[in-house]
C-alpha cells in the first residue's frame, strides 16, 4: 500500500525566492523514536516553527475488521488484543459485551467485578507506560524505567489470572476464561497498596521540576468546542473541562456500585492532561479497592475443594489412558474395561457454575441475527465495537471505534505555530496508540 503525500501540505511549502528563507518539509516518522509505532507526520518547518502538519496513517493497517468476517466469533477473539496492545482488556470487553447484548446473555456479578478489577489494573499499566514515554519524549529517561518497574508488578498480577503478560484473552461470552486463582485478590490488594507511594514519587520528580513545567504549562492548549468537534474523548477531553466519562455517564460492569471521581482540569494544556492521567491512576486504585471489598462469591476454600475434586477425576482418566498406552505398547489387546475407562471424556472444568461462558461451545456458537454496539471508557477514551450478525458462526461485519483516531486527528490543529520540540510534548500528551488508529 503506497501512501501519497496528502493534498494541501505542499501548498504550504514556500521555495526560496531571492534570499528569502526556505521552508523545510520533514517527515517525522514512520520510524521516529517519538511516533510510538508507525505514524508519519509530514511537517513543514520554518526554522523550528511548525507551519503545517499532516498525519499520514496506514503503515500499520492489520485489517482487524476484515479478519472478523473470516473467522468464527471465538477464533477472532485472540486477534483483537493487538488492536490496543497496551490495554487489551478493553478491546475484549467491548467485543464480548456487544456479543452478549446480541445474544441476550446475562453476566454474573462476580464476572463483572473481575472484569472491572482487571480493566482498572490495565488502565493503570496503560497510564504508567504513557507517563514513562511522555517524559522520555521530553528527554527525561529515569521516569520511564520507574514506570516500567511498577508496571511489571501489575503485569505479574494479570499474568497469574490470564496467563499472558500483555495480550490478555481472558473474557468470554457471558463469563471469563477462569475464576481468579486462590489468593489472587489478596495479592492485588497488597500490590495496589504499594502504588500510591510510587505515584507520590513520580509527582515529586515531575510536579515541581522547572524544566518540565516550562515545557508543559501553557503548551498545546485546546478548547472544548474544538475537542468536541474532533470527537476527542478520554483524559484529553477531561483536561479541557468536560467531565465526560462513560463509567459515570453510562455505567457498565458495576461502576455504579463503586464510588470514584472523574479527575478534570479546565486549562486543556499538556500539563493538564498529565494531571488528569495521574489523577485517574489514583481513582483506579480507589475503584479496585472497593471492588475487592464488594466482590461476591469467590470463596477460595470452595473453589479449592472443587479443584481437588476435578483434579482427582482428571488423574483417574490419565491413569486409564496410561494403562491403555502400556497395553498397546505390550501389543496386548486392552481389556474392555480399560477401553471403557479411557473413553470417558475429559471433565468439563466449569467448576464454578456461575460462569456461563464455559457452557457455550465457543467454536460453533451462533448468536442470533441482529446488530449490537458496546462502548467502554478505555485509557485513551471511548472505545466502541459495532457488530452485525447474520446468524452464522462468523460475524457479518465488525466496526471498531478507537479513541486514538480522534485524538490523533486533532494534532495538526494544535501544532501550527508551535515549536518543533513542542510537537513531541503535545503528541506525547495525547497518548496515541497507532494500532488503534490503523486497526
Amino acid at each position: 500500500m503506497t501512501t501519497a503525500l496528502p493534498q494541501g501540505i505542499l501548498e504550504t511549502f514556500q521555495p526560496s525566492q531571492d534570499g528569502a528563507t526556505e521552508d523545510m518539509v520533514v517527515n517525522i516518522g514512520p520510524q521516529h523514536p517519538s511516533t510510538h509505532g508507525v505514524l508519519r507526520l509530514v511537517t513543514t518547518l520554518d526554522g523550528e516553527v511548525v507551519k503545517a502538519m499532516e498525519p499520514v496513517i496506514g503503515y500499520l493497517h492489520r485489517s482487524k475488521e476484515k479478519m472478523a468476517e473470516t473467522r468464527s466469533y471465538f477464533q477472532y477473539q485472540p486477534t483483537i488484543d493487538r488492536v490496543e496492545y497496551l490495554s487489551s482488556f478493553y478491546d475484549h470487553y467491548v467485543y464480548v459485551t456487544a456479543l452478549e447484548r446480541l445474544a441476550g446473555l446475562s453476566v454474573p456479578r462476580r464476572v463483572q467485578y473481575l472484569r472491572m478489577i482487571t480493566m482498572e489494573l490495565n488502565r493503570i499499566t496503560s497510564h504508567l507506560l504513557w507517563f514513562g514515554t511522555f517524559l522520555l519524549d521530553l528527554g527525561a529517561s529515569s521516569p520511564f524505567f520507574y514506570a516500567f518497574r511498577d508496571r511489571e508488578k501489575i503485569f505479574s498480577l494479570l499474568e497469574s489470572i490470564t496467563g499472558a503478560r500483555m495480550m490478555y484473552n481472558y473474557y468470554r461470552f457471558g463469563g471469563l476464561n477462569q475464576d481468579a486463582p486462590p489468593g489472587w485478590l489478596d495479592e492485588v490488594r497488597r500490590v495496589i497498596n504499594e502504588l500510591p507511594h510510587r505515584f507520590d514519587e513520580y509527582e515529586a520528580i515531575v510536579n515541581k521540576n522547572p524544566i518540565i513545567l516550562d515545557r508543559c504549562v501553557g503548551v498545546g492548549i485546546v478548547d472544548k468546542p474544538t475537542l468536541l468537534a474532533y470527537g476527542v474523548t478520554g483524559p484529553s477531553l477531561r483536561a479541557s473541562g468536560v467531565a465526560q466519562d462513560l463509567r459515570k455517564t453510562n455505567p457498565y460492569c458495576c461502576y455504579d456500585e463503586v464510588d470514584f471521581d472523574v479527575p478534570t482540569q479546565t486549562v486543556g494544556d499538556v500539563y493538564a492532561r498529565y494531571v488528569v492521567r495521574m489523577g485517574e491512576m489514583r481513582e483506579s486504585l480507589r475503584i479496585v479497592h472497593q471492588a475487592l471489598d464488594q466482590i461476591p462469591g469467590g470463596d477460595t476454600a470452595q473453589i479449592n475443594a472443587l479443584r481437588a475434586e476435578y483434579q482427582a477425576i482428571a488423574d483417574t482418566v490419565d491413569a486409564a489412558k496410561k494403562r491403555v498406552a502400556l497395553a498397546k505398547k505390550a501389543e496386548q489387546t486392552p481389556s474392555p474395561d480399560d477401553v471403557a475407562q479411557a473413553a470417558i471424556p475429559a471433565p468439563e472444568l466449569d467448576f464454578d457454575s456461575r460462569f456461563q461462558g464455559a457452557k457455550i461451545n465457543l467454536l460453533t456458537w451462533k448468536p442470533p441475527a441482529g446488530e449490537a454496539f458496546a462502548q467502554v471508557e478505555s485509557p485513551r477514551g471511548m472505545l466502541g465495537c459495532y457488530l452485525i450478525s447474520d446468524g452464522s458462526p462468523k460475524a457479518y461485519r465488525v466496526k471498531w471505534r478507537g479513541a486514538s483516531f480522534s485524538n490523533l486527528s486533532i494534532l495538526p490543529s494544535m501544532m501550527v505555530g508551535n515549536l518543533y520540540p513542542d510537537l513531541m510534548a503535545i503528541f506525547g500528551s495525547l497518548d496515541v496508540i497507532l494500532p488503534e488508529v490503523d486497526r
Partner: protein
Amino acid sequence: MLLVWAFLVYGAIATLAQAAVIFMVLMERKALAWLTQRKGPNRVGPAGLLQTLADGVKLLFKEDIMTPGQNKVLFTLAPALFLFPVFPLFALIPFTDYLWGVSLPTGALLLFAISSITTVAVVLAGWASDNKYSLLGGVRSAAQAISYEIPLIMAALAVCLFAGTMNLRGIVEAQQGPLGAIGWFGLYLTPVSFLIFLIASLAEVNRIPFDLPEAESELVSGYNTEYSGMKFAMYFLAEYAALFVMSALAVVFFAGGYLSPLAGVQWGDMTFGPTLAQSVGLAQWVAEATRMPSLGGLLIQLEMAFWFILKTYGFIFFAMWIRGTLPRLKPDQLMGFSWKFLIPLALINVFVVALQRFWAPPASSLAAWGAQAAANWPMALAWLLTLIVGIGGFYVASARAFSRRLNARIARS
C-alpha cells in the same frame, strides 16, 4: 624528528584519554542503572568491566554506511574534526604539580579556544549528512555553542582575576592558601562563577538538559543520525573526552585541583600542606627510611593525582546524575536562559570580582579576609548582592516564567 615526536606525544595522550573514556562509558551506564534501579552491564567480564571494550569491538565491525546524497569528503572529515581537538586539551590539564603536558601562561584561554573547534565539526556533520534532522541538530549546536561559551568564559575569567593568572597550574596553586579547603574558589570565594560554570559546561559538552544538538526524541539523533560504525564511535569518544576535560577544568578552577581537601587548614599548631603525605610527614619518613628521596616524591605525586582524579569523577558523576534527573529544554528556552539570565549574571559577577581585586588584595588568612571584608563594606555588600542574585535569581526566574505561563493558561481557558 619534531613531527615524529609530536605525533608520539599526541598518540600517548590520545591513548590515556581513551582509557578514561572506556571507564566513563561504563561508569555512565552503571550510574544511570543505579539511578533508575536497574542492574547495568554485568555480563561481559567481571562485574561487566569489559562491556565498553565489547561495545568498541562491535562498533569496529559495523558497516560504514554512506548515502548517495552526502558530501563524502566533509561527511568523513566531520568526526575527525570533532575528535582530534579534544586530545590536546588533555595536555593542558595539570594532573599534579609535576604531571602535565604543557604549562602556558594563557592555558585557560587556549583550552577554551581549542574546545570551540568541535562546534564547526558538528555544523559540518549536520550539513554534510543530507538529513534534515542532522541539519537542525547542527544549527542548534552552533546557536548553543555561541550562547554558552560566553558565560562559560566569563565564569572562568572571574577565577583568573581572582588567581591573578591564566596558567592552570597557577590557578591551582593560588587556591592553596591559608584559607585552606574553604579557599577553594568554587565553595567560598566565587560561588556565582561556580554555578555559571557548572551550567554552561553542561551545555558546552552537550549533556542533558542541554543535549539539543542530538535530542534523540526530537531529532532522532541529531547531527550524528547518519553516522554508523567507527565514525559514530569517534563522536561518542569525543563527547566523553570533552566531558572529562570540562570536569577536570571545573576541578582546576573551583575545587582546588590536585590539592588535598585539607590543604591549608589549620589544626592546632599544624597547617596541612598540599598533600596529606606531606602534612603528616609520611613522604619524609618514606624518603628517610628507604634512603630514596624520589620515592617520597612519588608518593606525593600519586596522592595529588588521586585527589585530582577523584574530584574529576565527582564532577562527571554530577553530570550523570543530572542526566538521570532532568528532561531536555527547548531551543528557545535554552537561548533565553543564557542571554537573559546567565550572561548578565556572569557580567555582574566579573564586575564584582574585579572590584574586589581592585580594592582588596588577597588576604593572608580567614580572619584577615573577614577584617578586609568589614573594612571594605561596599565590596562586601556587592558580594552579598551577587550571591542573592545568583542563587535566588534562578528560582525567581523560573517562578516568574511559571506564573507567566499560568496567567496565559487562565487567560485562554
